[in-house]
């Protein structure tokens, strides 16, 4: 399901209420193999060690060849020490499953070197049963949605696997919203998964 680009959060939630998850999940989805993919070999993934979900997501992308960088208290230091120097030696993508402020910071620091966000997913367990997910991307969203739906308790790992295998990108942005019955433990009850790419 593709939502119109100009919409506010209420529109999304309204549509989520009417969404059947099964429509989004192709039948018989095979488990994702932990193989080193070409797409992730020049990727850095940030891991926030306060949250198990973030670490699991990073480990999942690491299995696809990404380098894991722990998020230091100082986000600018993580950028200048670990990410920026890699731009000169072939870094193409930066990813994370983090709190939203980390995406805000990284997106702005990366913008100066010509990067742009090609995927963002908001994962929300606040004040609700189950979870709500809003995804937006210029990459193929179907495998990501499938990963979330199929992933259940292993959603962070499954999401990392799906993102580790993305290759194709277009300029057309697509949005998608879905509800999943999965639960999350005590913690922020809100995460953002994201992928930033350098195209030049």
């Amino acid at each position: 399901m593709t939502l119109p680009l100009a919409m506010d959060r209420r529109d999304v939630l309204k549509l989520v209420g009417a969404t059947s998850i099964s429509l989004l999940a192709p039948a018989g989805t095979a488990p994702v193999a932990a193989v080193r993919s070409e797409a992730a070999s020049s990727t850095i993934v940030l891991a926030d060690h306060r949250y198990a979900e973030s670490v699991i997501f990073a480990a999942s992308l690491e299995r696809h060849g990404a380098n894991v960088v722990p998020l230091a208290t100082d986000r600018a230091k993580a950028w200048s020490d670990a990410v920026e120097p890699q731009l000169h030696v072939g870094l193409r993508s930066l990813a994370g499953l983090t709190l939203e402020s980390d995406l805000f910071v990284m997106e702005r620091l990366a913008a100066h070197s010509g990067a742009r966000q090609c995927y963002v997913g908001f994962h929300d367990w606040r004040c609700r049963q189950g979870s709500a997910h809003r995804l937006s991307a210029t990459i193929d969203l179907d495998p990501i949605a499938t990963a979330l739906v199929d992933g259940k308790k292993r959603w962070a790992e499954s999401l990392g696997e799906a993102l580790g295998q993305t290759t194709m990108e277009s300029r057309t942005e697509r949005k998608l919203a879905l509800n999943c019955p999965m639960t999350v433990g005590r913690g922020p009850r809100f995460f953002v998964s994201w992928l930033i790419r350098w195209t030049a």
Binding site: D8, R9, R10, A72, T73, D74, R75, A76, K77, S80, L99, E100, S101, D102, F104, V105, R108, L109, A111, R116, F122, D124, W125, R126, C127, R186, G187, P188, R189, F190
Partner: protein
């Protein structure tokens, strides 16, 4: 994208063509992802009302003059930013929709004099840049930085920004300024008015009136360089941290702190309420997953489990070890009279590695926006920080009132106090909200307005404001029927007769727009 007011598309294209001839094709932005970077990312649902038409990025003073020449010919409104990271106050977005952003981020020159402990910086220099420059050259100097420290040194200073060391009053430690006036004339203030005077960045006052303040929080010129004083690296640096258990402890704590500040024992101090401490480390959902403000039971559990007080106080002591030991005793003596206070001290000698939690007190810039995740979603905040006298009972009364106002709009009260002057505090009351949630945005706007109105009833005011509230805050300054604003307007009309520079900044509008605004409001 909107056009500048009164412009047709061909007019705008023509102006942009001329701007490109000044700064180069790549440095005039009118479309795409690059232009979206000039919108206010923290806007509480008003981003389109403050949308720029484009941005122009000069790289030198000569190019700034060229841009101003084009803008005057076309009457093109320019909104000046150093880097545009004035988040919570509008970012790079202009007060007047359709203004073109004059982005000075390409001007990045740094000069440091280690012997006399000062730096000269252009607008594009960030605190991170200046810190790295000094560190790489092994100069025994510290900077003072705000938190987060990714903004412009010049921009923050002009906005009266603050930091956490004895040099935390940034405007107070500025010395020497170069300004391009709207019609292109270059002026240097203070002793800089004399060619090559070496004391330009050393002594603030010269022969005649002091001009620097006119170009801070104003739209009378384009500041292209400032001098700032740097702090010699101290022999010893001690961090003193205290926790106070009860809400009402703020009154005796402030009164004790005032004495220490006036005595010169404590050079600066920051106070945080439970939420400011908690939001720096956790999110709200970890303590309560219902709607509305946190109930008292959740606050009690939070403070207990985190091992924090209702209030925390933190400041640094800087200097010779023996002197610090005596200062430390005075601090302990002053605060130990408050029941239940817990005091912690960490001491670092010159050259020691300072851990991240004490970095800003040592002028080490960092970027961590953790408090914005408090509610989840796409966190943002707007601010209208008050200047409040350092009197305990008065502040407790104000705090309780503001807590009630935050709670009435469904928000938790994020409260901080920073003392960069010994007689007053800057009282931050951040309104943190989800910028993707239109209902929360509306409540954040309503709360912002209410807080400003309530402060005015107590004869208090903010010293900065979001672009959407600049007119409203400016209107509170009502002595002698707004005589100060009338003076600003006379200066504006004289210094910027074309009315091109940052229209509406701090409520100061050029003549034409003033008249149009008055007609709209039915005023004579």
């Amino acid at each position: 994208m909107p056009l500048p007011p009164g412009f047709s598309s061909p007019d705008f294209d023509s102006a942009c063509k001329e701007l490109r001839s000044v700064v180069g094709d790549d440095h005039v932005v009118t479309t795409g992802d690059r232009l979206s970077g000039y919108f206010d990312p923290y806007s509480p649902g008003l981003a389109d009302d403050y949308a720029p038409s484009g941005a122009v990025l000069p790289a030198s003073v000569d190019e700034v003059r060229g841009v101003l020449g084009v803008a005057n010919r076309y009457r093109l409104p320019l909104w000046t930013v150093s880097l545009g990271r004035n988040y919570a106050y509008g970012g790079a977005a202009p007060c007047l929709k359709g203004s073109m952003v004059l982005d000075l981020s390409r001007m990045r020159a740094i000069e440091v004099n280690a012997e006399l402990a000062y730096a000269l910086v252009e607008p594009g220099v960030t605190y991170l840049d200046l810190y790295k420059f000094i560190r790489d050259k092994n100069y025994p100097l510290w900077i003072d930085c705000p938190d987060p420290g990714w903004g412009s040194v010049l921009g923050n200073t002009l906005e009266h920004g603050i930091g956490y060391t004895p040099y935390g009053d940034h405007a107070g430690h500025q010395c020497g300024m170069e300004v391009v006036l709207a019609e292109g004339e270059i002026v240097r203030t203070g002793l800089g008015a004399m060619s090559d005077n070496p004391a330009w960045p050393l002594y603030k006052y010269a022969f005649g009136p002091t001009l620097d303040g006119l170009f801070m929080q104003s739209n009378f010129g384009v500041v292209t360089r400032i001098g700032i004083w740097l702090m010699p690296e101290p022999e010893t640096f001690s961090v003193m941290e205290m926790m106070f258990r009860r809400e009402e402890d703020i009154a005796p704590m402030i009164d004790a702190l005032r004495v220490l500040r006036l005595d010169g024992i404590v050079p600066t101090a920051t106070i945080a309420n439970w939420m400011r401490i908690a939001a720096g480390n956790t999110t709200r959902a970890e303590w309560y997953d219902g709607k509305g403000p946190l109930p008292q039971s959740a606050i009690d559990r939070l403070t207990k489990e985190m091992g924090i007080g209702y209030w925390g106080v933190r400041f640094g002591l800087y200097g010779r070890e023996k002197i610090l030991a005596e200062q430390g005793k005075a601090v302990e003596g002053a605060f130990s009279r408050i029941e239940g206070v817990e005091l912690g001290v960490a001491t670092y000698r010159r050259g020691a590695v300072i851990p991240p939690e004490h970095a800003t007190l040592a002028g080490i810039p960092s970027v961590d926006l953790m408090p914005l995740n408090w509610l989840g979603g796409a966190g943002a905040h707007i601010e209208c920080p008050l200047v409040v006298p350092m009197r305990g009972a008065d502040f407790l009364d104000l705090y309780r009132r503001r807590t009630a106002l935050f709670n009435a709009e469904g928000f938790d009260h994020y409260c901080g106090l920073t003392s960069t002057s010994p007689r007053s505090f800057i009282n931050t009351g951040s309104i943190i909200f989800d910028r993707n949630d239109s209902e929360q945005c509306a409540r954040a706007r309503a709360l912002g307005k209410t807080l400003i109105e309530d402060a005015h009833k107590r004869q208090l005011s903010g010293y900065r404001a979001h672009i959407s509230e600049m007119d409203f805050v400016a209107a509170q300054f009502d002595f002698n029927d707004h005589a100060a604003m009338r003076l600003y307007e006379r200066l504006k009309d004289t210094l910027d007769p074309g009315g091109i520079l940052s229209p509406g900044k701090q409520g100061i509008w050029p003549k034409d727009l003033r008249q149009a605004n008055n007609e709209k409001a039915g005023k004579p």
